[in-house]
Amino acid sequence: MPTYGGWTGKTLRVNLSSGKISTEDTIAKYKDYLGGKGVGYRVLWDEVPAGTKGFDEANKIIMGVGPLTGTSAPSSGRTSITTIFPTSYPWELVAAGHMGGHWGAELKYAGWDNVIIEGKSEKPVYIAIVDSKVEIRDASHLWGNGIYRATASICQEMGPETQVAAIGQAGENLVRLSVVNNAYSHSAGGVGAVFGSKKLKAVAVRGTGAVRIAADKQEWKKLTRYALSIMGANNNNVVPSTRQPWAEYFAPMSRWTARKGLYWGAADPPVETGECLPEDLNRIGMRTMKATYDMGPLAEKYTVRMGGCSSCPIRCHSHVEVPQMEEKYGLSRYAASTCTRLTAGTSGFIESYPEGRNGLAAVEANIVAEHMLDDYGIWDNYHQLSRDFNYICRSGLAKSRLSADEYKSIPWEKREKGDPSFLQDIYRRIAFREGELGSVLGEGSGLMAKLWNFPEAYFNDMRVDLWKMGHPRHHANEEVGQTGVLVNMNYNANIMCHSHRNFITCGLPTNVLQTLGEKLWGPGAVDAPRNYTPMNEAKARFAVWSLLRDELHDSLTLCNWMYPLASSPLKSRNYEGDNAIESKLYSLVTGDKKDVAELDLVAERIFNLHRALTVRDMNTSDMRSKHDTIPDYVFDDPQVGFGGGPEGRRTPPSGPPPKPFTPGTARMDRADMEVGKDMYYETLGWDKKTGSPTRATLEKLGLKDVADKLAQMRLLPA
């Protein structure tokens, strides 16, 4: 058998019911699925019966990384946690959370590629991995603690270099909207309660080894430097956010926020982010000053530095010191996070703050929210939790559904005043399922809507921003037209796919994007922003590429918030990135030479397995009408394209509601989207009528056994 680099070759299996700990051969069993989500799907297909729910003992948790994690492949510090998701509604189906941080690399240093967790413990436990030594340890002394204390305690037991992936009280209390965090603030959404259902507090790992790569070291160094040379800033934004002498273009929304006069203000002495020329690879980590991007200009003086994940040069995690947190809220002055977990305070729990979204109260609210989410281990679900709370307040449902006593117990006056300590009350209720409100909010949108009998209008309220199955829209038509809609249709939870978005919002002008897009997918793939044209095959190919690359990244494991590198900041390359970079990294690390088409075929295998699992567990092959749904507001709401989120709603300037394909609107057309589905299914080799994989496609991808099983269940399209 050939020996490959990258993989350790060992998959760990831990049975919490029997206590059995065993080792499997990664290469023999899982090489064709790479790692991460790929392995997760294969295990779920092979071992978890159809119809299994998230909290069932038969559900399994697969914490997986791929051959690139633990190497110096840029932005490879990701771990996928695949399981049956308890937030997927009304069917609990396969999905994955993924986290950054350092846990994944440490797992590889310990000599493992994946951890498959099965069964259920009777009492609280944690899994301790120290290289090849694996134990199931008592966690009763940790149970009831938040993630912060649990992490610190385990590090005291196992050593300070231990990487701990833990749940908080939310996961313990089977709050469906809960996370697993490692390194305190790197979250995998949606999986915390599955850990809790198995009485699993944490998986802690210490590794003293290294990852062997197949490549000659000099060749590897050359390739990684090349990858760095074509990378942009966070989300692979390739132009700065302000006009700068070195740049031809700029974009106000770019995450390349570094500039003269912008500082990590709480560093001692303060550090200027300055101008970061794309050729200066030593300053990649300075490009994204994320604290001010997420929280506004006031955050500058609180920013100590930017941090991030193992082997990632981008550093998108803001590390802040906000001294008044201790006295005002009883919380640590130190906080670290990024994106939605650093903006949850201003996403709808409280309508408005004194001095507005960027004022001091708002900044403090975001830090309060970050601590609550990261310590209790609650999943914000891309702000869906905040928007749902906002909805039940403004619709009157909170008042009508709660008992008078419970309603009175909520400190509404704090909410009205814009007092951030309101968040401490609400998040505590959710984490501990206090009262009706605490219980129902943590169930997720789908189940909550059922329990409280939400009106139909909820599902099409753009301020709620729900997509389907209890999860939110995530970069759909408002940014990427039909391609965004097709991407959002596919998963069973928050899609967490950024491939399409990274490309469209990289900051380059439309004509440059169209040239790059034409090379990748054909003419017509890219429209001008908010100036959409009817569907075409190139857009379908763009959607398929986005999804396949997402699966690939979550299996290799690379960060989909950086890759694919379809564009670059280099004028010398006409801003072209390298569509084959993943295959180059994979080939050199593993020694398993695959070109871009061959590696994309592996991704297609993984994606088809996800689809097959969904078909199986929904017990229908009619994905087109039952699964691949699109909310009505995408087509009907005249504000689509003009809404600014929960706070900013703006009607079009004048005249009748703009029709689809009018410049300015993001409204889609139903008939056009049906054409889109046709083209999308055709591109994937799926049956057009049902949107299900055909036998021919499954067999082409080496999934004959899957085709046979689906046929046996009468779930293969005719």
Partner: protein, 181 residues
């Protein structure tokens, strides 16, 4: 036959180039008549011809009737255009040409606030005075205003986009994109 350059001219140009490069490193363009004592006609049409090797990074750009120099080693043409424009005393000219460029290039409307930043650095008082009624000036009739829901002001050129489109893009830049992480 390549044009021969007298050594005195080459020396003058090299000294000029040093000054221009230093200015470009500081994000500034240099007005030709401030570094060239002869007439503009005497200045080489191109610094890329034989006998001037080593100066091929020095480029010229014209705006509001003036010629400026910059070094392509330290500044892109697009930035040089903006920097040259910023030297104009007519703030409405600065605003209009920038807005037209942004509306045509990306396309997107231009935030009014962005004119307080480099390379323009227009004071808020001057900016407000210039923006108010700008489209009443026939030279700038295409420069229209649009307001996002958070109060941010944007300008766009009606030569390149209509008000509905501009309003949508402005709202996205100012508000929508912030909640669309």
């Amino acid at each position: 036959m390549p044009e021969s350059r007298d050594s005195n001219l080459v020396e003058r140009l090299e000294a000029l180039a040093t000054e221009v490069r230093a200015a470009s490193r500081s994000a500034s363009v240099v007005r030709l008549d401030q570094v060239w004592t002869g007439s503009e006609d005497e200045f080489p049409k191109s610094l890329r011809s034989d006998g001037l090797s080593g100066l091929d990074d020095i480029a010229l750009i014209r705006d509001h009737g003036q010629t400026y120099l910059y070094s392509e080693r330290h500044m892109t043409h697009q930035y040089a255009e903006a920097a040259a424009r910023a030297e104009c005393e007519d703030i409405r000219h600065i605003i209009a040409e920038t807005v037209r460029a942004d509306s045509a290039t990306y396309p997107r409307p231009t935030s009014v606030e962005s004119f307080t930043e480099p390379p323009f650095r227009v004071s808020r008082a001057s900016l407000n005075a210039a923006v108010d009624g700008i489209s009443d000036d026939p030279r700038y009739a295409d420069i229209q205003a649009v307001l996002a829901s958070d109060g941010s002001r944007f300008l766009f050129s009606s030569h390149h986009m209509d008000p509905l489109y501009a309003a949508s893009l402005a709202e996205w830049i100012a508000v929508g994109s912030l909640t669309n992480l």
